[in-house]
Structures are given as structure tokens and as C-alpha cells.
Subunit: 454 residues, 2 copies
């Protein structure tokens, strides 16, 4: 007589037609994301692995998996392409990883809007939008592999946020379709503010099937690096460029020395020890851009037109946001990073003072963006020379005491990261409505511990 | 024996092939603009009229007029369509009005840029740009008749400045070609910051022949009016809409009661006594817009899609900026107006306090825009119930004492208006270079009085 089948075995036996990943190495890999940027998360998430990974192709297959997991009380963790950095896709209590990448249809494109299944890669939307004179409003530097659902569940914004602000700003995500985690799953359309209660919750309070997002009119972007000998001049240039209302742009990043030295693939354009500003400015603005660079004593060391970028498939966008960190980590494994939000109107002083205070240990990389209120602001992804977890925590505490916001990327608990504390009532109500059994990656929400469900 | 010909007669006899306007009524009309919005200017400019008006068609014809005027020491006043409000086109010392409206060729359109002769109507550029998926970045409400050169010489910005800021922001005007006023006129191309030293000088420091301007990607704009019972709610809505980074928009205007009552052609959509917000938001943003209106207790009372606007040739843009004043003056000739620039971050309080302080006398109409530093701000064109010039001056003085900037529209002197004082050295150097004989509308620059030239 055979031993009684485990819940996982029952699940797989009951749904034999699905695309199950069974190879332990692949299961291991699909249980991880880019949380290895953090030595803290690397330690904390060691050994956390799914019991099974499934890759559904249709809404009906998703429904079957969800219904069965709900009946069997099996934890369910949602995964896009695993480009997140906070262990978003790592199951803390085992169970099933639902890999959404085969659920990837672009449903429609209209002027200013697109709707797609959650597992679509952002680059697929970008390419289809470009063909119609449109482009994504904000996207992570990982857009080639990152999914739309992953961006919504664990992302903030990125390239384009200098215009459109964070993904959370009204109009960027218009609506979504989500599934409840129950034996009889319900499928529900949420619009506007209600839809956003599922945003940046790491897939813990609902399974998003489809997303409807705003698009931007496409522009031909000139990609440039401007280099400076002087920190203050480079920062002042970046700030003025970011704020200039007459210069259309998609991206402005300030890379203080020694950050440019880590971008070895761009070494020809980044003299050792320089401070650099990476930007995407509309080609029509090149003359005004050049005038601004000169006025700040810099020079343009790299210049690619939109046509050249398109032909070469090499884009500076893949040197921005957390890609900068990735390039640095490839050069020096002992590095890690911080995430900091500065204050509108004060960020130049804050960046300058903090860069001086931590010279040799914390290296400034600031991204310009508009915040939810439409103000120009900076968000930094500083590169940190890691020594000990205690020292890292001390740096974080000191930054907070100084008066800037740290979105701690060294925790896997939702409330301890960017959420910055207890979740609002309306978000918890969404959790109760869409995951009444508490099966979505139990342990991820501190306020909703394993076994807390009804 | 005939009497010796006057300088004007010599000019006209010497250039018989040009298009001279000789009818005294037409000369009278072409010596005026919309300065009748101001009872002060109406009084001050009474009787100021050109001796002749000429309408050149080519650069060569312009050169001939300029060379002859320089030889004959005849004053020269530049004119577009006369939609300005500060007596820009009124010759203070007689002489020749150079009507530029027949010098109106669109030279080229490229992605993000256009170049045209100064006398082109803005609507001609807009139509040509729209055909290629582009549009003007900022334009006055008078765009149907106003010229490009007139906007550059006497305009500030307008519809679209909520994105691109004032026309003066780098990138909006890329370059220009200008002619010196000399017996042997020189033609000189100016680029970037140097070109802007000829901006908003009412055509007193150079004759602009061609302008090269930035364009925006076109979007389908939904035109709406949202109406509110409550002043604070309407203003808060307008402010949040203006700042929302995820809502693409071309125009946001706040019309406090009783201003909407003066817009009689929109009366069906503007209940008596309402406060209204007029906006052009990208059609893709309609759902988010509606959510925002509801959240502030308002309702959308007028809604036209881009297709409907295009078909009807009726656009809300012609109810914004100084068109609002025009509509009010049509209803009540005793009204006049103010121009006020508020302070970023404080404008909601300033608008509220000033509206209460002058209830019944000064009626708030505020336009949202980005300033040169990229901050969201408000500029008001308040409608004023006029009593005396002394009271009007008192209101202006009180506003200045309160801490907001008044761009006095009741003066015809450049330095006393928006320039706000003595002109910078580089602007005066431009005057000396391009108008060494001081012939461009003498009397308009306080710092360059009639007869001050070499």
C-alpha cells in the first residue's frame, strides 16, 4: 500500500495537464529573486524554497490551481520574472510558486492606454506601444525581463517617473482584474483607487490577472552621459535638467564618483574618478541640453540617437535604477545598497551632506522623479561598501535621524520595507476579501502571520 | 512747386511696390491691440497712431523698409495680429507700423521642432503639427489669430504651460533669425539663451524674422468643465489635478464665482453662482479625472472628446487666459483685470485669502502652470470691477504688500510691466546691437527714451 499522498502530490495528481516544474534546481531558482543584492536577505532567506512551481497558460488553469490550493490549504506565492530585490517571490512557508510568465497576452492598445495579462514582459508592451507611437510611462531598468504584474506587485516606478511619478499616481494604473484565493475563486474588476490597494503588496493581498495601464506618447530619446570634475556642478546640472519644463526627458540619474567607475561597459565614456549624469532627453532638446552641460562646466562624453539605440539594442536605461547596483555588484561582490527618499526642495543639500558624511563607504546614485504631488524629487539607490549587518543598520538609523526616508531593502517583511509601518485598513480589508484563508505567501505580512486566517 | 515730401512720403514713394495700408481707419485699427481691456491704457494711448502701415511679404521687402526707415530716422513699430493687451503694437511716436502677418511661411516641421516666419498664425503651426502627431507646446487663447512673432515678442505662454512652463523656459524657443535696424540691415541667427534676450521686449530690441520652437507630442484632449458649490473644494480639485503626475493635461483653469456667470456661451453647463474648473486632460485619463471630481464633491457638467472638439471648431481653450477677461468684458464694459503671479506651495492660501479680501470687487481666475524651475504654480488674471484709476492702483499696491507679484497690465512701458524694473545688461546690449538708432517704437523703453540713440 502506498503512503497517503502529500497535499502537493494531490495537487499535482489532480491537475496533470498543467506545466509543472519538477527539477529541484529549477524550483530552487524559481523560488528566488535578486534579493542577493542584500547580504541580510541572503542570510535570512537561505533555504526558503517552494515545494512545487506551476506555470499556467490560461485564466482557467490559474483558477484550477487556486481552487485546489485553497481546498488543500497550500500556500501560494506569485512570481513574475523574479527581478525584484526583496524576496518577493520567495515562499516563506513552502507550497506552490505560481509562475505567471506564460500568462502573457497583450489584450489591447488604445491612445494612452493598454491592457494585458499580468505575466507579460514589459518590453513586449513597450515594443507594441512604440509601433503605435506610444511608450510605457514608467518602467524598471529590468523591463526586458520584468513582468507587468511584477512591476505592479513589487515595483515603484523607474524610467519615466521623472514625468509620470510613481506607478501609484492616479492615471498610471487605471484598473485590474484579480482572483480571490478560495475553493470557488471569484474574478473581480477593480478600478482606480480601489485597484491601487493591491499595489506594492508583493502579491500578498490578491492575485492580479490583468492590468490596465496608462501609456505616454513616444518620443525619440537621445541617450547621453555628461561628465564633470566637480560633484556640486554635476548635481546642479542634473537638478536643473530634471526640473527644466521645456526639456522633455525620460530619465535623469546622478552618479557621483566612484559609482561611474563600476560601470565598466561604459568605461570609454566615463573617465576614472568622474561624476556623471545619465539622461534620456528628447532629441529636439539636444541643443538646450548641450548649453546646460556647458554652463555647468561639463562635457557630453556619450551620445546615442534613438535610431542608434534601437539598432544597437544597447540602452543606457539598463544602467539606471537598480541596474546601477547590479553592475557594481558584478565588479565587487562586497557591495550592497540603500534606498532613500529625499525631500523636495532640500534634496540637493541632503545629497551633498550625506555624500560627504559617508565618503568612502556610501556612494551616491540618485534618480530624479516627480512624487505623488507632482514635485521634482530625488530617490537614491546608494551603493554601500558592506562590512557588518550592525554597521548597515547604523547607517540606516543615522539616515533616518538625519531626516530622510529609508525604504529598507534589507527586510522581507512588507511592513518593514517601503510600506514603512502598519498597513492601512483598506489594504487589510482587501487582504481579507481576496485571501480569506491567508494562503498568499504566509509570513510576508507581519500583520497577518501564518495561521492567522479564519 | 510741390512742398518737400515728408519722410513718410519719401519712404512710400521709394518703395511703391510694397503693400501700403493708406486708409486712415485701417491705420487707426492697425495701430491698436487689445489694450482697451485697461481703462488706464485706453486713456494713455488715445490718439497714438502710425503715419503709415506696411505689410511686407518677403525678407527682402522687410529689409527695404528697415533700411529706408533707418536712413530716414523713421520710428518703426512691429505688429503681429494685435492680440496683445499692453499697447505692444501702438506706435508712441508715430512712424511706420510693420505688419508682419503676410510674412507667414512654415519653413519646416521635425519631431519636436518647427521653424516658421514670424508672421505665421499659431493655429497654422498647430494644424500642420497635428497632422504629424505633434502640437504647440504653449499658446495663448488667441492662437487662431495670434502670430508666432507676437507670442515671442509680447506673450508669456498659455495653454500648455502646465507642462512646458513659460515660453522663456529653455527648449521652448530654440533659436531665431533677426534683423538689425540700420541703413544696411544685418541678418543674424541667435540660438538658445542669446535668442531669449529678445523675448517679451515688445519688439523693442530687434526685428525677429524667423523662430524655431519646440513642439509637444499631440494627445487627444478631453475638454471638460467641472462645477462645484464650494470655493475651497473647487480650488483643491484644480490644484490636485494640476499637480497629478499621472494625468496628462494641457490646461487647468480655476474660475471662482462669479466668473463663470460671465461665460454666457457656456451658460448651460455653468449653473449660476458656481465655481468651475476648466480642463483639457488626455482622454485616457477620463476615469481618473472623474474619480478626482467626485472626491471633491463636484460634477462634470460639460464634456467634449477631441473628435467632437475638432468637428465643432468650438474649444474651451478660447475661454482661458485672457479670453476669460474678453468674455467678461463683452458682458460688462465696466470690468478690467489684473495679472498676478503667486508663490509655489502657497498659492492655494494666497488665492483663498485674496478672493475673500476683495469679494465683490476682484474675481478670481487662476491659471495653473509650471514655472521656470518646473514647480507647479498659479498665475491669475483676476477680473476687477473698475471704479477709479486710484482704486485700481491701490488694489495693485495692496497685492504687492501682501506678497504676490503683480505684472501690471495697465502700463505701456516695458520696464513697468512684467519686466518688473530695469532691464538686464544683456538685454540692453541686444538693444544697442539690433537697434542702434533707437527707432523701434521709441518711448516704449523707459531706459531708452526717444532721441537717446547715437
Amino acid at each position: 500500500m502506498n503512503a497517503p499522498a502529500s497535499a502537493i502530490e494531490q495537487l499535482q495528481l489532480g491537475l496533470p495537464e498543467l506545466d509543472w516544474i519538477t527539477d529541484p534546481n529549477r524550483i530552487q531558482r524559481l523560488s528566488q529573486d535578486f534579493s542577493w543584492f542584500s547580504p541580510v536577505l541572503t542570510r535570512q532567506l537561505e533555504g526558503k524554497v517552494a515545494d512545487a512551481v506551476v506555470r499556467p497558460r490560461t485564466e482557467e488553469q490559474i483558477r484550477q490551481v487556486v481552487a485546489a490550493c485553497a481546498r488543500l490549504k497550500l500556500p501560494l506565492t506569485l512570481r513574475g520574472s523574479g527581478t525584484g530585490n526583496y524576496g518577493q517571490t520567495t515562499p516563506l512557508a513552502g507550497g506552490v510558486v505560481l509562475d505567471m510568465t506564460s500568462f502573457n497576452e497583450l489584450l489591447w492598445l488604445r491612445p494612452g492606454l493598454a491592457r494585458a495579462q499580468a505575466g507579460i514582459r514589459l518590453n513586449e508592451i513597450e515594443k507594441a506601444a512604440q509601433a503605435e507611437g506610444q511608450e510605457l510611462r514608467c518602467m524598471p531598468s529590468t523591463y526586458r525581463s520584468a513582468t507587468l504584474g511584477g512591476l505592479f506587485g513589487g515595483g515603484f516606478g523607474g524610467v519615466g517617473s521623472i514625468n509620470y511619478g510613481p506607478l501609484a499616481a492616479p492615471g498610471n494604473v487605471v484598473g485590474l482584474k484579480a482572483m480571490t484565493i478560495e475553493p470557488e475563486p471569484q474574478i473581480i474588476e477593480l478600478r482606480g483607487a480601489e485597484a491601487m490597494r493591491m499595489h506594492h503588496l508583493w502579491g500578498t493581498n490578491g492575485l492580479v490577472l490583468e492590468l490596465e495601464i496608462g501609456l505616454a506618447p513616444a518620443q525619440p530619446w537621445l541617450e547621453t552621459l555628461a561628465v564633470f570634475d566637480d560633484f556640486d556642478a554635476a548635481l546642479a546640472f542634473a537638478d536643473q535638467l530634471a526640473r527644466a519644463p521645456g526639456l522633455d526627458k525620460r530619465e535623469v540619474a546622478f552618479l557621483a564618483s566612484p559609482v561611474p567607475d563600476y560601470l565598466t561597459q561604459l568605461a570609454e565614456s566615463l573617465p576614472k574618478g568622474c561624476h556623471a549624469v545619465l539622461s534620456l532627453v528628447a532629441e529636439a532638446g539636444e541643443e538646450a541640453l548641450a548649453e546646460l552641460v556647458s554652463a555647468h562646466g561639463g562635457r557630453v562624453s556619450y551620445r546615442r540617437t534613438a535610431a542608434e539605440v534601437s539598432k544597437s539594442h544597447k540602452t543606457l536605461m539598463e544602467y539606471t535604477w537598480n541596474h546601477t547596483t547590479l553592475h557594481a555588484l558584478r565588479v565587487d561582490k562586497s557591495l550592497t545598497y540603500l534606498q532613500t527618499t529625499f525631500t523636495p526642495g532640500e534634496y540637493v543639500r541632503q545629497i551633498t551632506e550625506l555624500s560627504r558624511r559617508y565618503a568612502g563607504e556610501v556612494f551616491m546614485h540618485a534618480e530624479f522623479l516627480r512624487n505623488m504631488e507632482g514635485q521634482t524629487n530625488c530617490s537614491a539607490l546608494q551603493i554601500v561598501r558592506f562590512t557588518t549587518e550592525e554597521r548597515l543598520q547604523q547607517i540606516i538609523d543615522e539616515h533616518r535621524a538625519y531626516g530622510v526616508r529609508i525604504n529598507n531593502p534589507h527586510t522581507f517583511i512588507v511592513e518593514d520595507g517601503k510600506a514603512g509601518g502598519d498597513l492601512p485598513e483598506d489594504v487589510l480589508a482587501m487582504k481579507a476579501r481576496f485571501d480569506p484563508l491567508g494562503l498568499l505567501n504566509p509570513g510576508k505580512l507581519r500583520g497577518w502571520p501564518v495561521g492567522a486566517a479564519s
